[in-house]
């Protein structure tokens, strides 16, 4: 592979005179299952091979993607990419520059305890069927269960015109479990995801029985839940909700491309945006976590990036282009879903750092408030408006967790809300998930339990 890719880089530089070229080739093998109740809809396997070529010509990007490693096809694609870049440069105002990076070579091997590509389809069917059966047998009010399973193994080959060459194994194991329950005319819904870059051993850490029961129990418990009151209330957020809040409400605004697009963090570097107890990281180096990797898709090592330190914004997430603009170090946040798309700035494992409060200390002073334990979706806007849907929540009455509430969601302005975080727990959890920004990225979000003095709660009808 190295010879082919070197040849393409040479063609781009010598024949087309590009300022910069990178080629990402991928060999991917996926294995998938979809179960609807106990029915296996289809056992699925697939191969995707392809290459992405990105060139910088006259300060503009050209990009081409093809499903082939054939030298002639790749040479045509690099010529295409150069034509694209030239066309794009016609109306260019500010030429794109990249922060410097020294060339190096590395070979990164995945070392799973249980390699998903060596596990038989029958075993994978067994695991997902156990999940489905656990959910369906939990209670006769459970009406449905949908399980998706995916594992992906393969190799990424990265080369650029600065002398960097990386071969890096890819390994992901993921599953999503959805359960619905119904009683009288009340429908409830519960969701959970399992995700790892370690290996199939993720199902030994939390067994299918444990995960299945948690999903089913939540759906059933929500049946007797009441509709929350709409309005402003104090709230304690669990690690799962803190994670999605940190990811959606803050993280996206700190992706340097969105910061430059006018997110409310644009003029906040070095300034206080949160209470003293808030410290936030985006970390690509957590071993085995769903958002971890050694090198990003621009060949930059993934780092542990401190975004907020004791309430002050100290960093952003960068690719080489934004790092140059901010005169900052690249952080290794440039990720591409696959060879069909360009790398863009994405989060990895994003979390709030724990402090020293126990859960009891967080809730004991609350006469009335909410405990939001698990989320269902979330979304943020550049102006700092965020929304997080809640799939598991409870009232807090006189300092104790009380009755469940369903279909709540919380909203507010990110910076106002971060200033209202007045206590941070000492526990810590990291949850796997998938993030959409035109492309899908595998990530983790998390943190400890935290208390927010007030947040807008959207009630039901």
């Amino acid at each position: 592979m190295k010879d082919t890719l070197t040849k393409i880089v040479n063609v781009a530089v010598q024949k087309f005179g590009v300022e910069y070229v990178e080629v990402r080739a991928q060999k991917l093998f996926k294995s998938m299952l979809t179960l609807k109740e106990e029915r296996i809809e289809a056992a699925k396997e697939g191969i995707e091979n392809g290459a992405a070529l990105r060139v910088l010509v006259n300060g503009a990007w050209g990009f081409a993607s093809v499903g082939s490693f054939d030298t002639e096809i790749l040479e045509n694609a690099v010529s295409d990419a150069c034509k694209m870049a030239k066309a794009a440069s016609l109306k260019l105002k500010n030429p794109i520059k990249l922060v410097e990076s020294k060339g190096f070579e590395d070979n990164v091997l995945a070392k799973p305890k249980k390699d998903p590509s060596k596990i038989s389809i029958e075993d994978k069917i067994g695991t997902t069927l156990t999940l489905a059966k656990t959910v369906l047998r939990y209670d006769n009010r459970i009406k449905g269960c949908t399980i998706d399973y995916l594992d992906l193994v393969g190799t990424n080959y990265f080369i650029n015109s600065e002398g960097t060459y990386i071969e890096q194994d890819k390994l992901y194991v993921w599953s999503r479990i959805l359960a619905t329950a119904k009683e009288n005319n009340v429908f409830t819904f519960s969701r959970e995801e399992v995700g790892s870059t370690a290996g199939y051993e993720v199902f030994d850490v939390e067994t299918p029985e444990v995960v299945g029961e948690r999903v089913a129990k939540r759906a059933v418990d929500q049946l007797k839940a009441k509709i929350p009151k709409g309005g402003t209330f104090p709230a304690v957020l669990g690690p799962n909700v803190v994670g999605v809040f940190v990811h959606e409400a803050f993280g996206h605004l700190a992706e340097a491309d969105l910061t430059l697009s006018g997110s409310i963090l644009m003029d906040k570097l070095g300034k206080k945006v949160a209470s003293d107890v808030v410290t936030i990281y985006d970390d690509g180096t957590v071993e085995g976590a769903f958002g971890s990797f050694k090198y990003d898709d621009e060949g930059i090592p993934a780092r542990k990036t401190l975004l907020v330190k004791n309430g002050v914004v100290v960093g952003l997430m960068h690719n080489r282009e934004t790092a140059q603009k901010f005169n900052a170090e690249p952080t290794g946040n440039a990720r591409a879903e696959d060879f069909r798309v360009e790398p863009i700035i994405r989060m990895r494992n994003t979390f709030m750092a724990p402090k020293d409060n126990s859960f009891e200390e967080l809730i004991e002073d609350l006469k009335f408030g909410y405990y939001f334990k698990s989320f269902r979706g979330g979304q943020a806007n550049l102006d700092g408006t965020f929304q997080v849907g809640i799939q598991e929540g409870y009232e807090i009455v006189k300092g104790e967790v009380s009755e469940p509430v369903r279909n709540a969601s919380i909203s507010g302005n990110t910076l106002e809300t971060l200033h209202k975080v007045d206590a941070v727990g000492k526990d810590f959890e990291l949850w796997p998930g998938r993030c959409g920004k035109g492309q899908t990225a595998f990530v983790c979000d998390g943190g400890p339990h935290i208390r927010v003095r007030e947040v807008l709660v959207g009630g039901g009808a």
């Binding site: 260019l92 429908f187 979330g378």
Partner: protein, 454 residues
Amino acid sequence: MAALKEEEIISLAEDAANFALRKGVSEAEVFVYEGLTTTVAIERGQIAKSSRIIDRGLGIRTVINNAVGFSYTNILENKAAIEETVLKSLKSAKASKPDKDWQGFPPKKPFAHVKNTFDSSICELSSEDLVKTASLMLEAAEKTDKRVFPVEGGIGASYLSRAVVNSNGIVGFDYGTIVECSLATVAQEAGEVTPVCFEFNVERLYKIDPEWVGMEAARQAASALKAKRVETKSMKVIFAHFALQQLLHYTLMDAVKADYVQRNQSALQGKIGEKIASENITVYDDGLLEGGLRTWKFDGEGVPQQKTLIIEKGVLRNFIYDNYAAKKEGKESTGNAFRGGYLSTPNVEATNFHLAPGKKSPEELIGEIDDGLLVYSLQGAHSSNPASGEFSVVATPAWKIVNGKITRAVKGAMLAGNVFDVIKKISALANNERKIGQLVAPWVIVENVKVIGR
């Protein structure tokens, strides 16, 4: 790289299907997809990127003892790779478990006739052409208001083709084009940033208006400045196209899928013939809509697409089916087996979910409201409860309407309710329908929506 010809694609598919049958499967179905896309991207106020993406591949479903296996590959130039893919599909089918409800792939039927789904001028667009179009859009936005910053957007032109071959004699090929331009903007003034505003045009024929998109995206952002909170109470809300699409996509559009109904996951189960929406609501799933974004001769299983009445004057008439869900009830597929490409097996999806428009202009709709909101987009609609239809979302951007006039922008307003209640409270529909994803719909007024402002 030029597009593959019909004969090449069909023979690839037939060879793969025949190879599978020779290897002893009881049934085989091959789906081939090709997409050639050229894009020009706007990022942070300028055009700085262009791309050419070629994606093609083949997916094969095989059936052994009523157990289904599937495999795909994007390596088409090599016969051995395709045969290996067929064998993987076989291996998957053997590893899978028999499905007692499996009743085979669909039978051969004449394909539908469709109009305005292909425009050769879209295939001929060069990246230079697209740069010109994108800069028209960008300049139109910049001229409209100085406080507006074009965050991202661009233009994309695609040629798509698809083929289905199955062991019941279905042999189909169809092709089409899509062109899309879009612009996302924010406005900034005195430290205030608006939420992202978004406008777009998407068509099967090369009939887009980039200047209108640019102007409209800028107008929205400028008018979203100086937003204030609203009080908490119930009021009339106009859901504009995008907001309506977001609200319905995760709820109503799932609830009409036959597999959701069969699996007890639809609030509409058992309600055929019942009044579920206000009388002014008529909805078709129209797989034949002229120039529709999801209009094709046949669906992802080779079943002819059709026009299916879903809601007639508020009364639920039909659900949508793929072949599997239909056979389970002894019915015929409604041509709603959707495939995202060669990477996946089909699933039930709406084609063009067409909510019939009303007669009033959008201005008349606004004029009818004494105290209410105009909502262009929703944040968090994907966190709705898909089974119950309950939602709790943020309206952004949104504007306050007082005495029939838009008075100011609104920030942080949450809307809560249940979609199946919302469709009963639609009191008026405008005449301004447009295509947005799977939905084709106008603006609507919904009475009595709970708005949580502070």
